[in-house]
């Protein structure tokens, strides 16, 4: 026995290049690590730059003060019963100016001072007070505590975004205004609050009253349209191609085309949408319906491809098992193959939805770069979308818009993160047998 094993023993020192092989592996691991670290670094830099610029957009300076809704200002001739129009055209900002200058004890003949007081608050107060008075004319003549938005420059100053070392004439906030800010902040009537307006306001030329409201609604409409169209159509097409269609030249051609379509630049889909949906079918421009249709076309190929590969990944033994028991093809598909392919299909769908949510180029072509001041009530109304709103804000110069651009990017990233997390969770859930 020992003789045999000795004679068969190989010399231990045989050179089979182990060292070289281990070195190669170590090198490869190092490359991988470097690649991942680089990726994490850039991701971190990106997130840091966006968050550091954008977090302040979620706060907005407001001023709360008692305002006398003076009948002499709103309706000097007391004609409101006959002509409600006066309530619409009344000079509401004066009321706030008066209230504020009273609080800051500014003489009524200090015209320079009054003009500066006027620039303390957003001119959006006109709409705000008008609505308040129009809804309830009884308020005229009373004194109400009103919270108004500070003007964008004041907001920037409060957030420390304006360099006060610059000579007064070269900056947008005067020394007196800075003093007032301190005075108002000291007694708590000027403060920073969570910026709900960022989510509720529609487009506006004043940064402080512009928000993502219309864009959010437009994006939601579009995502729902994309989901409703491309998921059923894509999955049905994939099932047909994968399970029923015969393999021949024609289906090969279709397959190649689908793969190519998935790689077509999105702007081309925008042109297609412009030509077909708007010019040919006469659907309205800027409508989220058209946007949804275009994005649905764009996501279809991806959904078809991911669904097909998910179907293909279902082991053929499961198919044989079902068929062997006498399940019909449709029973096999719906009771065994689709449930197993569902996680893959869902992940593919959510990821392509996320891509559609972030898509800008095709929407530019169908006129969704629009100044939408009202909420779109139906998908046929003019709307805009989150990424398009970001694009529009990014081209504005004011400091407050810069901040909002980053804020909107954060909102968009949150949406994408939520969708991707949903994809992961759904996948986990479905994979549990």
């Amino acid at each position: 026995m020992s003789l045999l094993s000795e004679s068969h023993m190989k010399p231990l020192t045989r050179n089979i290049g182990l060292k070289r092989r281990y070195r190669a592996e170590k090198r490869f691991r190092a490359y991988g690590l470097i690649a991942i670290c680089t990726g994490i670094f850039f991701l971190g830099a990106l997130l840091w730059s966006i968050f550091s610029h954008g977090y302040s957009a979620f706060w907005q300076t407001s001023i709360t003060l008692p305002v006398r809704l003076d009948a002499a200002v709103i309706d000097p001739q007391n004609r409101r019963d006959k002509n409600p129009q006066v309530l619409i055209t009344a000079n509401y900002p004066i009321l706030i100016r008066n209230a504020l200058s009273e609080k800051l004890s500014i003489a009524p003949d200090d015209h320079v001072g009054l003009r500066q007081v006027n620039r303390m608050f957003s001119s959006g107060v006109r709409v705000q007070l008008r609505k308040m008075v129009f809804d309830n004319p009884q308020l005229i003549g009373t004194t109400q505590t009103v919270t108004v938005l500070a003007a964008a420059d004041i907001d920037s100053a409060v957030k420390g975004q304006i360099n006060l070392a610059v000579p007064e004439t070269k900056r947008k906030v005067s020394d007196r205004q800075v003093e007032w800010i301190h005075e108002l902040a000291a007694d708590g009537s000027l403060y920073k609050a969570f910026n709900t307006g960022l989510f509720t306001f529609a487009a506006s030329s004043r940064p402080e009253t512009s928000g993502l409201g219309a864009a959010l609604i437009g994006s939601i409409y579009m995502i729902l349209i994309v989901l409703a169209l491309s998921l059923p159509i894509g999955v049905a097409a994939a099932i047909y191609l994968e399970e029923y269609a015969r393999k021949n030249r024609f289906t090969d051609l279709i397959e190649i085309n689908i793969n190519n379509l998935a790689a077509v630049p999105s702007i081309v889909f925008g042109l297609l949408g412009l030509a077909i949906f708007i010019n040919f079918f006469g659907l309205p421009r800027s409508a989220s319906l058209v946007g949804g249709l275009v994005l649905a076309l764009m996501t279809l190929p991806t959904i078809i491809i991911t669904t097909r590969s998910a179907l293909r990944a279902v082991p053929s033994s499961i198919r044989s098992a079902a068929l062997g028991l006498g399940a019909s093809k449709i029973q096999m598909l719906f009771q065994h193959v689709l449930p197993l392919a569902a996680p893959g299909i869902l992940t593919g769908t959510i990821i392509s939805l996320a891509r559609a949510l972030g898509e800008t180029a095709p929407l530019l072509l169908i006129g969704m770069v629009a100044f939408v001041a009202n909420y779109p009530r139906t998908p046929m109304d003019p709307a805009t979308a989150l990424p398009v709103q970001i694009y529009m804000w990014a081209s504005e110069a004011e400091r407050a818009f810069v901040e909002r651009t980053s804020g909107a990017i954060i909102v968009l990233l949150m949406f994408l993160a939520v969708m991707n997390i949903a994809a992961v969770l759904l996948r986990r859930r479905f994979e549990q047998p």
């Binding site: 499961i318 044989s320 098992a321 079902a322 062997g324 028991l325 019909s328 029973q331």
Partner: protein
């Protein structure tokens, strides 16, 4: 062959082509009721192919073409009037690799009866599931965890689960393609015992590479070689005095 034995299935000049390439070159073979027939032969000779003809699983293979006639109780199963779903409910199949559904043990067995509407009530279905598991010799091992996933069982248990699943639809014929090839000797012995029990109620065709297994479980043996049927006969005869040299060589291990 014995005249009082009933012919359950009969293949008449069965030829199979995969993408134009012949895999079976005219097989004529009878399968007798309540008997076990073993299909033996070297790898690639067409045993699985023939088995798949018997419940038309070849239909699911792209490019496969079957000619000739296969009779089940004197009825041609390739006749256009025959419904393939119904055929597969009558001729069940157990595959070489255990392939339970990734569902609970109960659901695995209940699936067939459910799609064929064999149980009128929940209790009836429970009864079918229990009986099938008992017949497959698995019930005692899994009775406390019927709602665990089928794939969590051991390989041998999974194979018996697949057998239980196949007999739950009460087929008349059960086709088994190397059911023990992935199993250890103990699990194999259990399945062989099971096959012997099942013979009373079912007709069984089994593909095997183990001569001992063929000798142990079957009454008849068919020897295939290169897509042809070399010889068929009672297992005793085949193993003791084969007519053909090729059979002799194969069972004594000289080729294959």
């Amino acid at each position: 062959m014995d005249s009082k034995l009933k012919i359950k299935m009969r293949g008449l000049d069965v030829k199979v082509f995969y993408g134009g390439k012949g895999a079976l070159h005219g097989i004529t073979l009878d399968i007798l009721e309540n008997k076990v027939i073993a299909l033996i032969g070297p790898s690639g000779c067409g045993k699985s192919t023939f088995l798949r003809c018997l419940n038309r699983m070849n239909d699911t293979i792209e490019g496969a073409l079957v000619t000739g006639r296969i009779l089940l109780d004197e009825e041609d199963i390739y006749d256009p009037s025959v419904d393939v779903v119904e055929l597969r409910a009558r001729v069940g199949m157990v595959f070489q690799k255990p392939n339970p559904f990734p569902k609970s043990i109960y659901e695995n067995v209940a699936y067939g009866p459910r799609i064929h509407g064999l149980a009128k009530s929940r209790t009836e279905l429970d009864e079918i599931v229990e009986q099938s598991l008992i017949k497959a010799g698995l019930f005692n091992e899994v009775k406390d965890r019927l709602h665990d996933v089928g794939t969590s069982l051991s390989g041998g248990q999974q194979q018996r689960l697949c057998i239980a699943r196949a007999i739950a639809v009460s087929p008349e014929v059960i086709l088994m393609d190397e059911p023990c090839s992935a199993l250890d000797p103990i699990a194999t012995a259990k399945i062989e015992e099971l096959i012997d029990d099942l013979r009373r109620n079912y007709t069984i065709a089994i593909v095997t590479h183990s001569m001992q297994q063929a000798a142990r479980v079957s009454q008849f043996t068919a020897m295939f070689h290169l897509g042809n049927l070399v010889e068929v006969g009672a297992t005793d005869t085949i193993f003791t005095s084969p007519q053909e040299q090729r059979t002799q060589d194969y069972i004594t291990g000289r080729f294959g």
